[in-house]
Symmetry: C2
Subunit: 602 residues, 2 copies
């Protein structure tokens, strides 16, 4: 019988065998990428470990070339270390970890990362991973060589010993892999570490390249980011199957307790509200609920207004820091960033942050997209990532940029997108691209539109200023000629052309008339607003004035506080030997609306 | 101690838990896509099962709407059925299957597909999958309701019974899921089934939509595709870790036997060659090899010339069938397709097939890419797929198409790409996009360039013809006027302008002169080749001629066989009451080189 024949071939597949055959899914599709992925997994772990332990991270990454295509990777951190009996499973078993079941923002979330790097090393060079770990300055470090028994997905300890290690505590991993080292490219270890340091300003990262060149990514802030707190699931977006599973395994003795204890954002009142809407009295035993009754409960969840999940399970970068980083990295003429409020998808809280930098030092034709997920830079699969697609789907023409439909806009600009979540929906285990979850895409689009509006305001203002400036330039050329001609014809004395331009352009105009030791300052406010400002004049010798005088050793400064209504004029008079400053100095007015004086911040 | 605290949280993660939380990785990122994915997994299984059993597939897909967002999916096949004790694990355990360890081309390869659909159903509606399976007409069918215990990744049989079922053998699965049904879109169940039927012409697929509308995708060919054979791994591209594992587990008693028994394409002579190059005598026990010795063996593999892996582990569609399908689907003016020879990546044989269709019924601005992997249509993640990137990376300008750099070319064309392999390197478990494996990308590019060159030839020919036609049109307008004028000036009789044009254009020119019942056919070969053809004239009444006469009831047809050398002329004369055909009819000459007659295939 054919079915019997076919049945004989059926077998269980270990997850390690699966990934051994499909290593590209974990990010090992070619030697260059494999090297970046190994470093990434180790560094992500180092940052998570130090952060959880409240330690300012000090991470060392070293890559050494062993042979043409064989590299040794060493990553060392000052984290809390790993207790001896857990070392084998953490590094030698896929799907093992502490962060999968916890609802809070972490870099690692799958229990796959570092063990996959060990698997790749073993597959390509046959060498075990060498781990050194120390949990206390009082103890020796533990050194282990670990391999993975792929048929069983269980660790194999090749050797174990106690050694002296210089660090008081921390973890060190050494891997030997088939790889390829690239330096300049956008997808490189250097670029990964650079972007990591942008969004982790509290981390110090030292990177030693194969040729011995040392990069130091210094700590910019000594403040540890707030440690995200673990929370319970949020009722919005939870699915029936998940709810049924929760009802089965809860320790709560009745339905009301179940709601209050197992979910976040359900208090006494809301629990009653949900129970009433679902037709329960709250004393039912959770395990007694049928599928249909659970469905009623689920529908009631959706009918009640709930607060979004608490933000303390998430650790955003913060709009200030994003703007600072963008400004520092790109020297742009305009930057703006926002952090959106947390939202939920399928019960997982998430939030979106978006920053934009425009012009200045940015010379690219097309907008560059920097993607981050839980503070990890995403270097690969830009085209397949929902964050990129969100950028493409926004109508940037509305915000003053050129764009072909559904493509990245053409503009000298950089967009930074950070998705923070208790569960980042990566397209695959290689954690390179975000899946197109509608709730997330919507949030990213809204964030982009928000920064887009700010950009538009800036571009409009810039354009307006440019127009105004152009108009002024034209006027400044024509009016003096015109004025001269008019005066000649009318046989009048020549007028001050600058004042005429200032009047037309709506500026505050300053004119200094000096006759011997008598100086008069004429000030006219041709703008449409009340203006308050200070005027400074610097003089040699004795001074006679109604302004306030500040004496220095060689000269005196006179200060007036002036307030002028629109179309108001004033004349200030003083006497002195000689005025030093070329033009009057004004404080409190924008350069754009001042004529005949210099603006200065004092 | 912090390390101890952290250690307490460490846990093993079951693969079912992992995918429950990351269901988008398996293709369930939104309700519309989830519905397509469920159907896809069930249909792929049905096609694999029937193919393996040598049965012409007859697959029924039915989708019924249960509630606004809840759908029931039923997929039924006439395959061999599944033996009772295997049903729970096949549908209720992730990473369980028969195709993972076999080196041959199959649709399923991970042991994840159908169980993931069961997991999704259970997660969203809480309902078990209902399986009916019958392995022989003599027995009753077995009906089981299956759920997955996600914490353990083990099946739970909710109910089991024997029932009567109309089919002699086969499998039926029923799932209830939260989904969304779309019809017209490119990413729909209909489109998936349509494309599936294009590349599986031996399959009959019946699709019943929620509104009851029935689509029948008929079987085009009753020939079963050749069943791919299982092979051993190919030495090229195998990695050190994999080789070490093989050396450990082989039953071969010495190294030479190991090489000959465990690999494909290694015979006696090549084994000796490899052993000599690696410095072995062949009598070493495989298990005794050190890592360094294994590395020597691996390097020797790469130094010897080996045949590519046998093709019988792969089942290509075939270039003929691809061309036929493209022609049928798109009614194009030009189609071409090729099947490349098999190649290897990381020890996995693969081959690439590419077809192109241009113009005619295709009206799109941009080239459309149809992607297939092991005869499964890939509907999602086009942007993130290495096949798409390969199309973008080709310089299509060299083949006569417009293209912005590294984008899909702008042309009314369709490109079909089929990757067949014993192990398709999908980007993720959702099997939507191919990873950028360099060997595969290279092959796809070469294939595209090959069809590109053919397209270029066609476009050049077309352009040449168009130019010629244009020239002719111009001549046809001017020459009669010119001729008339010349004749007037010279006071000659008007000449036949058509003949002049025919001479200039290098055609075979026909002229019929009728005087009473006397008809003369003047034929001149102005082309540069010898021409052999037949001429037909159809007449009423009695006929007098030296040609062959075929009598019909109301008219007679005269046939001449004519052969003319370049610049030769001939005159045929006959008598009849009346000629019926407007112009002489010619058989054996292309329309383009005929003037004054009609070409016709008889």
């Amino acid at each position: 019988m054919i079915a019997e024949e076919l049945a004989k071939k059926l077998r269980e597949i270990s997850i390690a065998e699966f990934f051994e055959k499909n290593k590209h899914i974990l990010g090992y599709s070619n030697p260059a990428k494999a090297l970046v992925t190994c470093v990434k997994e180790a560094v992500d772990n180092a940052l998570d470990a130090t952060e959880e332990a409240g330690i300012l991270p000090d991470v060392m990454v070293r890559i050494a070339r062993i042979d043409r295509s064989i590299f040794r990777i060493i990553v060392e951190d000052n984290g809390p270390g790993i207790v001896r009996h857990q070392i084998p499973k953490i590094f030698g078993k896929l799907l093992y970890g502490s962060r999968f079941h916890a609802i809070k923002q972490t870099r690692g979330q799958q229990g796959l990362g570092i063990s996959s790097a060990v698997l790749y090393a073993q597959l390509t060079t046959g060498k075990p991973a060498v781990i050194i770990s120390k949990t206390s300055p009082k103890e020796k470090a533990c050194k282990m060589e670990i391999m993975i028994d792929t048929k069983r997905n269980e660790p194999e300890v090749v050797s174990e010993s106690d050694i002296e290690w210089h660090r008081p505590h921390g973890t060190r991993i050494e891997l030997e892999i088939v790889g390829s080292y690239v330096r300049e490219r956008r997808q490189s270890v250097y670029e990964y570490l650079r972007q990591t340091s942008i969004v982790n300003p509290h981390a110090k990262i030292t990177f030693i390249e194969p040729d011995g060149y040392i990069h130091e990514f210094e700590r910019v802030s000594s403040e540890l980011p707030k440690i995200p707190k673990e929370i319970k699931p949020h009722p919005h977006g939870i699915e029936l199957g998940a709810l049924l599973a929760m009802l089965k395994t809860t320790r709560a003795s009745n339905l009301k307790k179940f709601l209050k204890e197992e979910f976040v954002r359900i208090g006494d009142k809301i629990a009653d509200d949900i129970l009433a809407k679902a037709g329960f009295n709250g004393r039912e035993h959770p395990r007694s609920l049928s599928r249909k009754q659970a469905l009623r409960l689920l529908n009631a969840f959706r009918e009640v207004q709930l607060l979004p999940p608490p933000t303390d399970c998430l650790s955003p970068i913060g709009s200030d820091l994003i703007m600072k980083s963008l400004m520092k990295e790109f020297n742009a003429e305009f930057v703006y960033a926002i952090t959106r409020r947390p939202k939920v998808y399928s019960g997982h809280p998430f939030l979106v942050e978006v920053g934009i930098a425009y012009g200045g030092g940015i010379k690219s034709d097309r907008i560059e997209v920097l993607r981050f997920a839980n503070k990890i830079p995403l270097l690969y699969q830009q085209g397949g990532c929902a964050l990129t697609k969100a950028v493409e789907s926004v109508n940037w023409k509305a915000y003053g940029l050129q764009q072909s439909k559904n493509e990245l806009p053409n503009a000298p600009a950089v967009v930074l997108i950070h998705l923070a979540s208790t569960n980042i929906p990566y397209v695959s285990e290689s954690k390179e691209a975000i899946a197109g979850i509608p709730e997330i895409v919507d949030e990213v689009r809204l964030a982009l539109q928000e920064v887009g509006r700010k950009l538009k305001e800036y571009l409009d203002r810039k354009q307006k200023l440019q127009k105004k400036k152009k108009k002024e330039e034209v006027l400044l050329k024509i009016i003096p000629l015109l004025a001269k001609k008019v005066c000649e014809v009318l046989e009048r004395e020549p007028v001050d052309a600058d004042r005429i331009v200032a009047r037309i352009m709506g500026k505050v105009h300053f004119e200094r008339v000096v006759e011997g030791d008598r100086v008069r300052l004429r000030i006219a406010n041709y703008s449409k607003a009340k203006r308050a400002f200070r005027i400074y004049e610097m003089c040699e010798g004795d001074v006679e004035t109604d302004g306030r005088v500040i004496h220095a050793s060689t000269y005196s400064t006179i200060v007036w506080n002036v307030e002028l209504m629109p179309d108001d004029k004033i004349e200030l008079e003083y006497r002195c030997k000689r005025v030093i400053n070329r033009k009057p100095i004004v404080d409190g007015l924008d350069e754009e609306i001042v004529s005949g004086a210099e603006t200065h911040k004092i």
